[in-house]
């Protein structure tokens, strides 16, 4: 798939930082406002897909390879499952225990469990999990779109 016209490329470049920050905001405030890792990740991934369409898959593939995205996604998944495994070691010692909230251990900044006390740093592992899932969704969805666009743009039989 070759790139689109210059107008599309310019508009895409200008809009890029704004939509990116919007997506990251959704990820970071997942435990406070509507949204979360998946939704914000989808916003950022669709932004990346827009670049893919504007500049063409061959150009994008030259900038970032699918194996890097795959590695990034592995990293997000490992982060997520490690947060789940940490629940086995700290806290109530159960898989998927939200070990950062509660009355013991690392509760200096994370334990504001009351009505209206929620803030960006509360909710224990939830924001961290949001970030891990967000990374995963960005890399995963963009990887799927990139691989499919690149493979279908090539001539058959290659």
């Amino acid at each position: 798939m070759s790139g689109m016209s210059k107008i599309v490329k310019t508009i895409t470049s200008i809009a890029f930082p704004f939509t990116m920050i919007y997506g990251l905001y959704i990820i970071a405030h997942g435990h406070l406002t509507p949204g979360g890792g998946f939704q914000g990740g989808a916003v950022v991934a669709s932004r990346c897909a827009m670049i893919l369409f504007a500049y063409g898959s061959v150009w994008t593939m030259g900038k970032i390879k699918e194996k890097h995205l795959s590695g990034l996604e592995s990293l997000g998944a490992i982060g997520f499952i490690c947060l789940a495994f940490f629940g086995l070691i700290f806290g109530l010692q159960y898989f998927f225990n939200n070990f950062l909230v509660g009355e013991k251990g690392l509760n200096l900044i994370f334990n504001q469990l009351a009505i209206g006390a929620s803030n960006i740093n509360t909710a224990g592992v939830l924001p961290l999990m949001n970030f891990a899932v967000g990374l995963k969704v960005i890399a995963g969805l963009f990887g799927i779109v990139l691989v499919m666009a690149y493979a279908t743009s090539l001539k058959e039989g290659k």
């Binding site: 949204g35 979360g36 939200n98 939830l126 691989v147």
Partner: protein, 90 residues
């Protein structure tokens, strides 16, 4: 109409009857009969998890294992698509 089509029509009609019946017999829209589990989560999301967003507290805390499965599904899809579009010769 071939035999296959007749069988398909019969199948579809049976399924249609099932689905429409179940749609008519569901509880009235907006008036679920039992809500204990969800009411508990709404009441306790701030106290137990510290999150304002009830859905996030369900997704990552109460039903976190589902989300691990969901993340795995996406991981599987990426791996599958890359596997299918790989080069067959080294």
């Amino acid at each position: 109409m071939s035999k296959r089509n007749i069988a398909a029509v019969i199948f579809l009609v049976i399924v249609a009857v099932f689905f429409v019946f179940s749609a008519l017999m569901m509880h009235p829209f907006g008036e679920p009969e039992k809500t204990e589990m969800d009411q508990y989560i709404i009441d306790n999301t701030q106290g137990e998890t510290g999150a304002d967003n009830g859905v996030t507290s369900v997704v990552f805390d109460y039903r976190g294992f589902d989300t691990l499965g969901e993340a795995t599904v996406l991981f599987t899809a990426v791996a599958s698509v890359i596997l299918i579009f790989r080069r067959l010769k080294k």
